[in-house]
């Protein structure tokens, strides 16, 4: 299989314009005749469904939540980047492009990232017009804050709830289109499979979570915007229901999965407090604007933070990366935290934590200013830990947060299955091996509002899909397979709960495919995962029936897919013997412990093709850099 990224020719800055001109259009009268399925209602899915409906397409939109507004984009805190240069601090489309490419450790496509930077400004315009209450200056203009990996201030925000406000904006646009009749919304409906007919994506199979009914839905094209897979680690900052099922099923149907080992471990999360822990909570990266990260210089120092004098503190990010300091990119900040904790200098229970201290900022700006900027985050921290961060420093530790890997897509956001398009975190496209803060919201909305509405028309105009019925044997077969899996899960009636398997898998992945990876560890994980999976299918206990709301059954299906997907992640991590971005192979580091890339051998996207025998086939898409010089990332 030859991977054709369909990157337009011509100078970088003109590619998207030229491409839009070259794409075929569907005339307004014909748009009505096309049905498009959109799965997921986060930033990417909701914005795509709304915009496609505005254009005149018939949209069927699916969410496993009770309302489209619950999607996990809602939890994004800090902000959204855009190259507006409102601060006059030297920002530009080029700089946002460069920061993103460099932040991703040169493992993303130039053309995609440049387009993202171009569109970023339109996103802010659109969201403001929708009534998103971004933070403003006294003169009424928009204000900005700084984020990791950048030396300009280009992040737009709505207190610590930017994701919520952007999602509610997209949800309002979606609601408008539902009211108009352009979008048929299916809530409480989970996608279980993709249906491919004659090589084209023609529909999906779903389960109604309230009634248990398994149904088929046909369309002319399918759009997946189903998020990332960080819950493979069990403990992550993702919402509990976030899962890999939709993208993994598409992978099993022939879509290539790209760079699955590229996962982001976020440096600032509240540390785990016990075995019962169900998830980890992020503390926004924006806190690093004013908070200073430190640990005691001495190993095993058990004094209270206030009793440790300035001279005995190690502000290790400021020490190691003087030019970016506490705003070093996420992968670097996370690894540094692990390093000091591994040295025995971590704080809090188990020594798995570092301080994020606001004392200086409070002295400089006053408590009120800090409350205005981060009040809700401070309150959340106190609710969870019982400690007041205005008085004592926060304790933070890295946690799985985002996954850069995802289904492989071309410049049109189409996967290797014609007609199957993938948006947002579910695709692999723009963040390379490490995503910069405030860029996920940007990418989700760029994909949904501005890219897919244009590129999907080209597919439909060129393909002219013939009508297809859900009575087609492929649909029937997929429905029967989904029903059989549900029956199987309910029939095992073993001794262990679904969560116990998920925890076991998660802790294995965290140990061997987490913040640092090595050959022996990955091989160990690859030997162990099939054992856990085999036990799952013999010994899991899923109570209840298939004809009711059955949350254990929902979980069981998702964990079953994680148990297969985890293997793919480890295979990818094992094959990529270089370190890059969030993928740190212990065998490949610079003398001072930074990630050492191997551009000669690994400057490509690793796209994996499913094989029934369990050994996926690797396809490489070479990454060509015509506009930036590959360099060792330096934030020193």
């Amino acid at each position: 299989m030859k991977l054709d990224s369909k990157i337009p020719s011509g100078p970088l800055a003109e590619k998207w314009d030229r491409h839009r001109f070259e794409l075929k259009l569907v005339n307004p009268a014909n748009k009505r005749k096309h049905t498009i399925i959109v799965v997921g209602t986060g930033l990417a899915g909701a914005s795509a469904a709304a915009t496609l409906s505005e254009l005149g397409y018939r949209v069927k939109c699916f969410s496993f939540h009770d309302s489209p507004r619950r999607a996990h984009s809602i939890a994004a805190q800090g902000g959204i980047n855009a190259a507006k240069n409102y601060q006059n601090d030297g920002d530009s489309i080029w700089r946002l492009f460069y920061d993103t490419i460099k932040g991703g450790d040169f493992r993303a496509r130039e053309a995609n990232v440049y387009r993202l930077a171009q569109i970023s400004a339109n996103i802010i315009d659109q969201c403001v017009a929708q009534g998103v209450p971004f933070a403003r200056e006294y003169g009424g203009t928009l204000t900005n804050r700084s984020f990791g990996g950048a030396q300009v201030s280009r992040t737009f925000y709505a207190r610590g709830q930017t994701g919520q406000q952007l999602l509610l904006g997209a949800y309002s646009a979606l609601s408008k289109e539902i009211a108009k009749g352009g979008v048929e919304m299916h809530t409480y409906t989970e996608m279980l499979d993709l249906v491919v007919i004659d090589g084209h994506a023609r529909g999906i199979v779903t389960r109604n979570l309230k009634t248990g009914k398994i149904e088929a839905h046909a369309a002319d094209a399918v759009v997946l915007a189903t998020g990332g897979y960080a819950n493979v680690f069990y403990l992550s900052t993702n919402a509990k229901a976030s899962n890999v099922t939709a993208t993994y099923r598409a992978y099993k149907r022939g879509a290539l999965f790209a760079n699955p080992c590229f996962t982001q471990i976020h440096p600032t999360c509240i540390p785990q407090s016990g075995d019962y822990q169900s998830k980890l909570t992020l503390m926004s990266e924006s806190l690093r604007n004013d908070g200073r990260v430190w640990v005691p210089k001495k190993k095993g120092d058990t004094r209270a933070p206030g009793d440790i004098p300035e001279s005995e503190r190690d502000y290790y990010l400021e020490r190691k990366y003087p030019s970016f300091g506490n705003l070093a990119p996420r992968d670097i900040a996370s690894r540094s935290a692990k390093e000091v904790c591994d040295e025995g200098r971590g704080v809090g229970p188990g020594g798995r934590g570092v301080y994020l201290d606001f004392e200086d900022a409070i002295r400089r700006l006053g408590e009120d200013k800090i409350r205005e900027r981060y009040g809700n985050l401070f309150e959340m921290y106190e609710r969870i830990t019982g400690e007041n961060p205005y008085k004592v420093p926060m304790r933070i530790y890295p946690a799985p947060h985002y996954t850069m890997g995802g289904l492989w897509v071309d410049y049109n956001l189409m996967s290797t299955i014609p007609g199957l398009h993938v948006l947002g975190e579910a695709n692999f496209s723009d963040h390379g091996a490490n995503r910069l803060g405030a860029s996920a919201l940007m990418q989700g909305l760029a994909d949904g509002y501005f890219i897919i509405p244009v590129t999907i028309g080209d597919y439909l105009a060129n393909t002219r899909p013939a009508p297809v019925s859900v009575d087609h044997p492929e649909f029937r077969g997929a429905v029967e397979a989904a029903e059989a899996q549900v029956k199987k899960l309910l029939s095992i009636k073993g001794k262990r709960t679904v969560d116990s398997f998920h925890r076991e898998l998660g802790s294995l992945m965290w140990d061997y495919c987490g913040m640092a990876r090595n050959d022996a560890g990955l091989r160990k994980a690859l030997a162990k995962i099939p054992e856990i999976r085999a036990e799952f299918w013999e010994n899991v206990n899923v109570p209840g029936s298939d004809a009711e709301l059955n949350q254990a059954l929902e979980k069981a299906g998702r964990v079953a897919d994680f148990l297969e997907f985890a293997e793919l992640m480890c295979i990818d991590a094992l094959h990529r013997t270089e370190s890059c971005g969030g993928h740190f192979r212990e065998e490949s580091q610079t003398p001072d412990g930074e990630a050492k890339r191997d551009d000669e051998n690994f400057c490509y996207v690793a796209a994996w093709e499913y094989q029934e025998n369990g050994s996926p086939v690797l396809h490489k898409e070479p990454l060509v850099f015509e506009n930036v010089a590959l360099s060792q990332r330096s934030y020193k």
Binding site: H65, R69, R70, G140, A158, T497, N541, P543, L549
Partner: protein, 250 residues
């Protein structure tokens, strides 16, 4: 800690429900309320019993999925704290806790503690948006919004759609939820063109969904995990009156 839980169990929308008592041992004060329920559920499954169904997702107090009555109070005893953010340190050893679903005609029970809140979506679909298609937006800074207006809009826009306001209200009114969205959009220049028709349509939708009327009791705001103020309801009334006086489209 050792706690006694009295949990509402109802197998389905049309089935009879009842309170069932469970003993929860070894509860850590650092657990969240939902983690405590997770542990109870793990044990129920191990015993071959049906686990307690409850809605939840982000567990960071922002998605609005979770929410149960805890000893008669929506989201429990802590102010401005969603159920998932409530931690067991507010309880003490030996406590009895009554856990029930939101009770409102407009929120029918689906199973156990899970209720159907789709009525909220339909209220938003009636007009809780600004009609601007993608691509049709002016340069962001060409719309100046005074900081006070932006802050006020943000205060109102923080609603997470959990339904605690309805559950707290003796009339099961959705006035705080609806008023918050109306106030958010009415405060901004972008919201002006549809200001009058929006409030009329959303208030009508609220009635159609069989929510009760507001009689200014104030329980809604007290229970709101985001602290949406009663001002949202007062503003809704003013907007409604204004719409009736000046007419739609003004």
């Amino acid at each position: 800690m050792r706690l006694t839980l009295h949990v509402w169990r109802q197998p389905g929308p049309d089935a009879e429900g009842k309170l069932v008592t469970y003993e929860a041992d070894d509860v850590s004060p650092h657990m969240s309320f939902l983690e405590m329920l997770d542990v109870v559920n793990e044990r129920l499954i191990e015993k071959g019993e049906d686990p307690i169904a409850f809605a939840h997702d982000c567990r960071e107090g922002i998605c609005g999925s979770c929410g149960v009555m805890i000893n008669g109070e929506p989201h429990g005893p802590l102010k401005e704290t969603a159920t998932c953010q409530l931690h067991m340190r507010v309880f003490k050893d030996g406590d009895e806790i009554y856990i029930e679903p939101w009770r409102a005609k407009a929120f029918p029970v689906i199973k156990d503690l899970v209720v159907d809140r789709s009525a909220f979506d339909r209220i938003i679909q009636a007009g809780g948006y600004i009609s601007v298609n993608t691509g049709n937006a002016p340069e962001a800074n060409s719309i100046l919004v005074p900081k006070e207006a932006a802050d006020y809009a943000m205060d109102m826009a923080e609603c997470i759609g959990c339904g605690a306001c309805v559950a707290a209200c003796p009339n099961a009114s959705a006035a705080l939820f609806t008023g918050a969205k109306i106030s958010h959009l009415a405060a901004l220049p972008q919201g002006q063109p549809e200001r009058a028709q929006r409030v009329e349509a959303m208030v009508a939708a609220m009635d159609e969904e069989h929510f009760g009327h507001c009689t200014s009791i104030g329980e809604c705001s007290a229970a709101c995990p985001k602290g949406i103020p009663l001002e949202a309801i007062a503003r809704m009334y003013r907007e409604y009156l204004r719409a009736k006086l000046v007419g739609a489209g003004k």
